[in-house]
């Protein structure tokens, strides 16, 4: 059935953005806006390719990506938090940097041979359910993990002391400091952890695309930025929003089976997810970032 195929594909395609959105949520809820999310995702995808090439398989790729995410997170944390450079500009520069780095190194080090992905794992019994079975329960490990991660992210943000403290530093960091917290340390943790999750999103992308090419991410990281605002930092809404974008991306691959889209040229179909993003951002007018997001913080004693 068309609908099932579209949604099944949509679920597969949404996963990279879902992971990246989790990562971005962690960071923004601590007060850091990472526009470099696109670059981190790209680095994650590239590291997965390296892992496949030199580590022996896709799981090695996952490991490489986590390490790369850690390193990227450390660099970005230093820039965004410790040095306090302007976050939007630094993020854009990081994206270009990541593009240049991965493209240059890919030419040297990645010889794309076979298509490597995570194996599909069917969940018995559940995958028999009409529609939902095929859509949800015939995916791969990283996808299942992504869904299971939603309650985990919610838990970290709203049911742990770290989460409470981090959120205070996105709302009113001076108050957090006056209460004895170290805003910087809270933000370091958020940026590093967030980058790891984003890099995992890159692995998912590598897996669903079957290989690394220059500029693989193609704006998905930026779409994840939109997902985070639309979902108002609620992990469950993030899943829903990611699905929306995943499906809009799936449409272009199934277009020849869908009446109205059949004759639309592929170059135009490609635009669908981006247009959907703009429309969604406009409709969700009331969303505003927590007051301190995007503003580098200077602890009082250091400011004097």
């Amino acid at each position: 059935m068309i609908l099932t195929d579209v949604f099944a594909l949509g679920v597969a395609l949404m996963i990279p953005m879902l992971w990246a959105a989790y990562g971005e949520t962690l960071m923004e809820k601590a007060g850091v806006l990472n526009v470099g999310i696109e670059g981190v995702m790209l680095i994650g995808a590239f590291s997965a390719a390296l892992g496949v090439e030199y580590g022996g398989g896709i799981y090695a790729g996952l490991g490489f990506a986590i390490v790369a995410g850690l390193l990227s997170g450390i660099v970005l944390a230093l820039l965004y938090v410790r040095i306090g450079t302007d976050q939007i500009v630094t993020g854009i520069m990081f994206n270009i940097f990541a593009f240049g780095l991965t493209t240059t190194l890919a030419v040297e080090f990645v010889r794309a041979t076979e298509v490597t992905s995570f194996a599909q794992v069917e969940i018995p019994a559940l995958s028999e359910i009409p529609f939902f079975g095929e859509v949800l329960f015939e995916q791969n490990m990283l996808t299942y993990a992504a869904f299971l991660a939603a309650p985990l992210v919610f838990y970290v943000l709203h049911r742990t002391w770290y989460g409470l403290y981090a959120r205070s530093s996105s709302e009113y960091p001076r108050a957090a400091e006056a209460a004895g917290l170290s805003v910087w340390r809270l933000r370091y943790a958020a940026v590093i952890g967030g980058c790891v999750l984003t890099a995992i999103g890159g692995v998912a992308l590598f897996s669903s695309s079957g290989g690394f090419v220059s500029g693989l991410t193609d704006g998905r990281g930026f779409i994840a930025l939109a997902i985070v605002i639309l979902a108002r930092w609620n992990p469950y809404w993030i899943v829903a929003a990611s699905l929306l974008f995943g499906v809009s991306e799936a449409l272009q691959f199934q277009a020849d089976r869908i009446g109205p889209l059949k004759d639309v040229p592929p170059d135009i179909l490609v635009m669908i997810p981006y247009v959907v993003t703009i429309v969604a951002v406009v409709i969700a007018r009331a969303s505003r970032y927590p007051p301190a997001v995007g503003i580098p913080y200077k602890p009082s004693a250091k400011a004097s």
Binding site: R159, W161, L164, Y172, A176, A179, G180, L186, S300
Partner: protein, 533 residues
Amino acid sequence: MSERDAIPGVPAVATSVPTVRMTGISKAYGTTVANDGVDFELRPGEIHVLLGENGAGKTTLMRILFGMAIPDAGEVLLGDETVSFKSPQDALERGVGMVHQHFMLVQDFTVAENVVLGSVSAFDLVLRRAQIQRRVAEAAQRFDIDIDPGARIRDLPIDTQQRVEILKLLYRGASILILDEPTSSLGPAQIEALFSSLKQLREAGHSVVMVTHKLNEVMELADRVTVLKAGRKVTTVARGEFDERSLARAMTGHELPELPPPTGVEEGREPLLRVRDLVVHSGARLHAVHGVSFDLHAGELLGVAGVEGNGQRELLDALAGVVSIEAGTVEVGGRDVTGASPKGLREAGMSVIHEDRQGWGLVLDMSLAENLGLADVATGAASTYGFLRRRRLKARARELLEEYDVRPANPDALALSLSGGNQQKVVFARELASDPRVLLAANPASGLDVGAADYVHRRLIDVCDDGRAVLLISHDLDELLKLSDRIIVLHRGRILYEAPVQEVSMDVLAMAMAGRAPSQGEGDGAAAGPEDG
């Protein structure tokens, strides 16, 4: 329960509170000297008032004590031990806590979440909401503070928020409490409540420092007073050794001549400003202004009193055209300007002196000439065919700077390089240059030293004498009583009391600010709504 939990075992009576000694404290920001060799001593179980004008260095000194600033020179001792606080965490661990002038509360969090913020290590993973609410409720009871732990801060009135701040410190085991200008936006009833809480804390053995610039508060509360002036300590005196006069002289070094009394109002004419049934919404809260009506005539100064957070901000923003009006009408000079943009309001003859001069009154990174020309550029008066007449702007600026005695009178100087008083002069200059009919002013003297505040007050009176009308919104009752012809009290967006200044009854005024509308006789007084004083 984790080991770092502050509550268990903290007795209701603080024991072994050390003496705080700050010696030779010096601190400069760039070329501005905030503290110059200041000595300060806080004995256990005393209420010590730190008195001085705005800008005298009181807040800086206390920020050093709380670990939010590092002194350039000098020592801080707790008891016999030299301490050097590099962050509020250090101070809190040693039992020093501070309630800031701008509350350090996260508006979206609940009371409980704010109180426990930072009390437990972040690695302590699990946070159970029910548990922290219970703990905070227990603490509130133990310290005899009336509060609902589950309430969201943004829904609470100012004085309740202040109680949360105090509870926060007590919960963390602070025995030395610093309060920075705690009464700046409270009404008389709330101030009394605060003072009795402070006295209670003193009885329990805590040491309290209260930073203020208001003399009457010293008289009521202080066991000892330290006066700071221009970054230096002038004197420290104990109760019985001081009176208002001597303190005033120590604070300012001189006495200011009395203000001329306000001239009479020209009645019988068309009101310059007519507001009818104004309703303004505010973000989270509906009905911040809930049906306000008043008339303002030429030569009249109408004072709007009220505890902060009762709609004054929204009233000003609505009249300035910055916030939309839900219902009601506004007329300036007979012309209906309801819902007009700031530009339309200016054209009708309205000028605004916003309470936040840095945020809404000036563009700090622009020059004085540019700041003075903002309104002219907006209306197009400063340009021909779109091209800016810079020379004209500068010439006009020079005139204005001289007329208003702004120092330095350099049109190219950046606004941020001026002192607060001079910045306010620039704002006045610009707002009055357009020859307005009505001037709206909110807390125009806040943060200014006595001399600058006096200048502002005289200017406002001049504006009235010129035949214009002034609406003065202020937290400072003294200011209002000194300057106004008539006073209204705003509570929860409604006018609860209205009287010409000669006929004002202070008791009724205070009650109105606390939410009790005046009734025919005295007695219980019909409440306009649940009181929150």
